[in-house]
Structures are given as C-alpha cells and as structure tokens.
Symmetry: C4
Subunit: 201 residues, 4 copies
C-alpha cells in the first residue's frame, strides 16, 4: 500500500486540530488590552503551546513518511490512534485553561490530565514507529535513519516527570517540563532530514 | 474518471467529521477527576466509539479505492450519500450522550436513532459498493477482492438487532451490538489488503 | 499553472462547508422523536438541502476541472468568489431555519436572503466558467463540452423566480423553486461526463 | 524535500481558517433585513475582509510554491509560523467586530490588535520568503521571479501606518489602510505568474 492517502488524511486531521483550537479562545468582553490579557492571556499561551506540539507532530510525521514506502493495516490503525490522542488536545487544553483562569495554580488535576494526553500521544507515536518498522521488515530505512532516537526516548520520560511534578509539587513545574519537550523538538529532526538529503537527492 | 479527487474530498470530509466531534465534548466545570468522569465520561466513551467507526469507514474506503480504477456519476453520488450519513454521527452521538447523562438508561429513543444512523451509513456503504461494481463492469476487481463479504453482510444485521434491542429490551443491550460491529471491523479487511499486495506488489 | 492545488484547496473548503453545517443543528432537549421533529425537523431538512447543493457544486467543479488544463489569476479569484458564496450557506441556512421554526411561514425575508445566496453562488459559478473559457483561449475544451449549457442558464432563472415568489407570494413557493433546481442538477452532468469518457478514455 | 505535503497541509489549514470564520457570524434574532444589517452587518463586512486576506495569502503561497523546488526544516517552521498568525484572524476579527458593534468607533484597542495580527502575518510571510531563498541557495528562482518585490515591502509599512492611525487618530482610518493593502494585493502577483508562464510553459 502506498502512503499518499494516509498522509492526506493525517494532514487533514492535523490541519483541523491545529485550527479549531482557536474556536475555544473566548473573545474578551471588554475592548481593552487588560481584558485581552486577563480573559484570554492563558488561552493564547496554551493555544501557542498546543499549536507548537501539533506542528512538531506534523513535522515529524512528514519526515517519517518521506522515508517510509510500505504500510499495512497495523500502520493505518497506529496512525489513527495517534490522531485520536492529538484530537483530544483542544479538549484537555481548554480544561486546563479554564482551571488556571478560575483557580490559579490551586488545582493540579487538569494539568495532570493535559500531561497524560501529551504522554498518550508520545506513546502512540512510538507505537506508530514500531508498526512502520514491522511493515518495512528487517531492512527498515526509517530505523536506520532514526539511529538511537534519543529525543523519542527522552520525551515520554520528561512527560512522566512533568505529570508527577504537576500532581505532587506544583502545576507550573509540570508545565515547565512540558514546555521543555516542545523546545527540544522545535529543533527539527536533523537525523531524518539528513538521511533524506543523502539518500534521495 | 480517476478516483483521486473523490478520495481527496472524502478524506477531507472524514477528517473533519472525526475531529469536530471533540468540539461537542463539554469541558467539565470543576477541576476534578470526578467531574471529568461525571460530566464528560459518557461523552469520551461515545467519542471513542464514533471515532473508531469513522476510522473503520476511512480504512475500508481507502482499501476500496486502492482497487477501484473507474468511477462515474452514480459512484460520486453514492459516495456523497455515505458522507451525508457519516456527517450526522456528531449530531446523533451528542443527542445520545445528553440523554444518557440526564436520564440514564430510562430513555430508549436517542440510542435507537443512533443505531438507525449507523445502519444508514452501513447501507450507504453497501450501495457505494454496488455502484462501483456497476461502474467497473463485469470484471470488477473489487467484487473479486471482496469475495463473500461476510462482514459487510453481517454488519447491517447486527445494527438491526441492536436497534430492536435498544427499542424493546434495554438501550445498553443495543449499544453492546453496536460495539460488537466496531470490534469485528477493527480487524482490518485482510481480504482487500491481501488482494492489493498480491496484484500490485 | 496546473489545477491541482486549486482543486485541493476547493475540496478542503467544500468539505468543511458541507460538514460544519451539522454543527448548527441543535441537539433536541427532550429524548423523544417528537422533540427531534419539532426542534430539529426543519434543521435536518434544510441541512439535507444545503448538503445536496454543496454536493452538486463539488460534482460540477470536479467535472469542470477534469477538462480544464490551464488556469490563471482570474480563475483563482473567480474560484475564491464561488467559495465565498458557498461559505455563506451555513449562515443563511441557519437564519432561514430559525425563522421558520419560530414564525412558521409568516416571515419572508430569511427565505429571500437564502435564495439570494443561492443566486450569488450560481452567478459566481457562471463567472468561473467564463474565466476558464478566457484562460483556455479560443479552443476551450470546456466550452465545447458544455454545449448549450441549458441547466447552467436555467438555474439562475429559477432562483430569481423563487426569490420573487418567496418575497411576494409565499416562502414555501420560493423553496419549491429552490428544490426544483437541486433536483434538476441531481441528474449528474452527462455532457461533461460524456466528453471526458470520449476524449480521455 | 518536496513541497507537496507542505502545500497540502497549508491548503488544509487555510481552507479551515477561511471557512470557520463563518461560524463566528451571529444569526440575527429577528427575521428582518434591518436585524440582518444591525446585528450582522459589521460581521459580514469584516468576514469579507478577512476572507479576502486569507484568499490573498493562499494565492501568493500557491504562486510561491509553484516556483520553489527545495524546502528544509527552517521553511517548514516559517510556514507554520505564517499559519499560526493566520489562524488568529478569526479571533481578532471577532473581537474587533464585537467592539464596533457595541462601542462604535469609541474603542481603538481591538482595531489596533487586528492590525498587529495583520502585520504579524505579513512579517511571517516575509520570513518564509527569506527561508525559501536560503533553502534554494544562491540561484533562488523565487528571488529572481519576485524582482524588487514592491508590494511585499509596501504592505508592512501600510499596516504600521494603519496601526498608528487606529491608535492615535481614528479606528476607521486604520481600517482604510488595512483595506488598501487588500486592494493592492487583489491584483494578482503578475510577476510570479509571468515567470511561471515563461519558464514552465
């Protein structure tokens, strides 16, 4: 099976997820900068964070399927599981947002749930990679391109640390861990890019 | 006529349907796990169920149009009818959700209507297959690939049983039937996959 | 310029328009068939009507750009104007819906405005055809394929009649005219299809 | 790396942005033309304005990536930044709308914020061009095609003037500047079109 329709469908879902989060932003009731900050400040910041996450996944997904040539049913379902986890971002983002706006840092649960959502997506992406390795057989080009995959292994660890920190220390500490993962990935995955350049140019 | 634009349009519609259902999820008012479960528990479960259904249709649609080479106006309209039936999932899902949240299992109608929607989609998919057979003429590759199409014939029967059970027995029994169909289909359609591998590789 | 990206973008916009109208459907407050009919009956019927219209435009758009090979800036903007007119369908549909639900057939304005929206889209489609003719130059294949274009010329006339009837006679008479146009077009455009089959097969 | 998936994803995001703004339009409560104008008049005009902006960006983006052959990670992220800025249009448009509806021209802030959003997008587009130049190396075809890029340099200047005018003179004067930019760009970018025709036909 070719990957073109899997890519097209994923592009569609990711495009929608990244865009509908803006519908969750509440328009400030007063026409002042203060109202914009008070009522929508948290919303804009978490929108930015979730936008960056979805952008990262799209970026890595894009790189992955530039190398992958063969997919099977297991890859299709692993991909759908990843999309399911990402489709929950607008929901968990909105809940965290509301809680921070109303209760400040007093409430830990929504930040923990947001972290669990991030972790779920990271694991789904990892499973997708495994499914691709299997579909490609022993000589997986993706596996070769990924190398030791340090970032891929570090992310779930940082998410778990963030979840634990948010649950038992302070929600803001958890968010620091989550932001750290985003920053690590913002540096695009040179390994895959390098591989593509070397083997396809 | 080639199938590329039909596939692109269907991908777009399915991507949107699968994603906007998350907009129907109500963000819990309290920042607690209990509120998450009480206010959004049913919503999350039915979201998952409808996500899986749309994922199954996308998967089967994908497999079908990897084999199909020729389409005509009848196929385009059969495809649009399928998309119409699927586009109603967010609506019937939300209604069932609300009813279960508010009335528990006392009210049968929304579950019955949800089942009718599922049945409508299954029949529309069946009609789409027939339209494709006709467009491809006597030597339809899809017909050959589908074989006896046991699952395709079993699904409407199970939906009807679920509707009857929801109407006259208990809504939860109906839902058990609906979930059963999802599980049957979650095993991807090996027949088509096999056919593609054998005839295209 | 090739047409692939124009088609992809149009597919995206049409897919979203056809799908978001379902978000305008209000979930009935009571879990009964009577409530479904009373609260959402009009909504479902007008949803169906607008879905069919968008489906028709997608269908004709699809056929048109299977023949068209050359586009220029004027075609891109004519296409965007068509998309603009279609993107207003959810809005005018919802307004007509609300009015019929609340005032029955006493109020003419929203039906008239809906008709004006339909007329706007028909004219935009006509302008798009002209822009394509011009871009293709003297030997436009599309012009040849369209022939006398009876349907294309009949539609605006029927819309105008519907608007006049809704304004001065009765809103329901206007809607009869609008439904008539949909039925005329539901028979897919054999001319173009024929042409494609003859010249490309 | 090829540009096809970057284009597909951008098409998806732009298609959604251009379409969901219609969801922000409030359906008038009365079934009269007066209510349509009073309650939705501003909304329709700013919808039109933002639709035209997104259409312009899609158009230019389309032209740009018809010339561009090579992209790298920096281009992907510059493109995502552009999409982020554009995804905020529905939000800032809705805020400006609400403020004008409720306070007339008394409040400057939302118009200024709208202008800042427009400026942000223009700068992001400019950065995207720079990233493309760099990815293509010394012999960038895009750079050659753009020539002196007068419009691209004029737009940010007009946006800044509009922002200053909205802040210190009158919001309506700011909007005049913003509309002026839209009109300048509505004339499609003949330079790129010319280049494509000359070098690809």
């Amino acid at each position: 099976m070719t990957t073109s329709r899997l890519e097209a469908f994923s592009d569609g879902v990711l495009a929608i997820i990244i865009t509908i989060m803006v519908l969750e932003l509440k328009v400030p009731e007063e026409p002042t900068l203060r109202a914009l900050w008070d009522e929508t400040g948290t919303g804009l910041l978490t929108y930015l964070l979730s936008f960056v996450y979805i952008g990262i996944y799209w970026n890595n997904h894009h790189h992955m399927f530039q190398i992958v040539r063969r997919v099977d049913g297991a890859v299709l379902w692993a991909n759908l599981t990843l999309l399911l986890s990402l489709s929950l971002y607008p929901f968990t983002t909105a809940w965290m947002d509301d809680a921070i706006n109303e209760y400040g840092w007093d409430e830990h649960t929504p930040v923990v749930v947001y972290g669990v959502n991030l972790l779920f997506a990271a694991l789904a992406y990892y499973v997708l990679q495994l499914a691709v390795f299997r579909a490609e057989g022993g000589d997986s080009q993706l596996r070769e391109a990924l190398g030791s995959d340090l970032k891929g292994k570090l992310s779930p660890v940082l998410y778990v640390l963030g979840i634990v920190a948010a649950a038992f220390l302070h929600p803001a500490v958890g968010i620091v861990f989550f932001v750290a993962v985003a920053i690590i990935w913002l540096v695009p995955d040179r390994r895959l890019e390098q591989y593509v350049v070397e083997h396809q140019a």
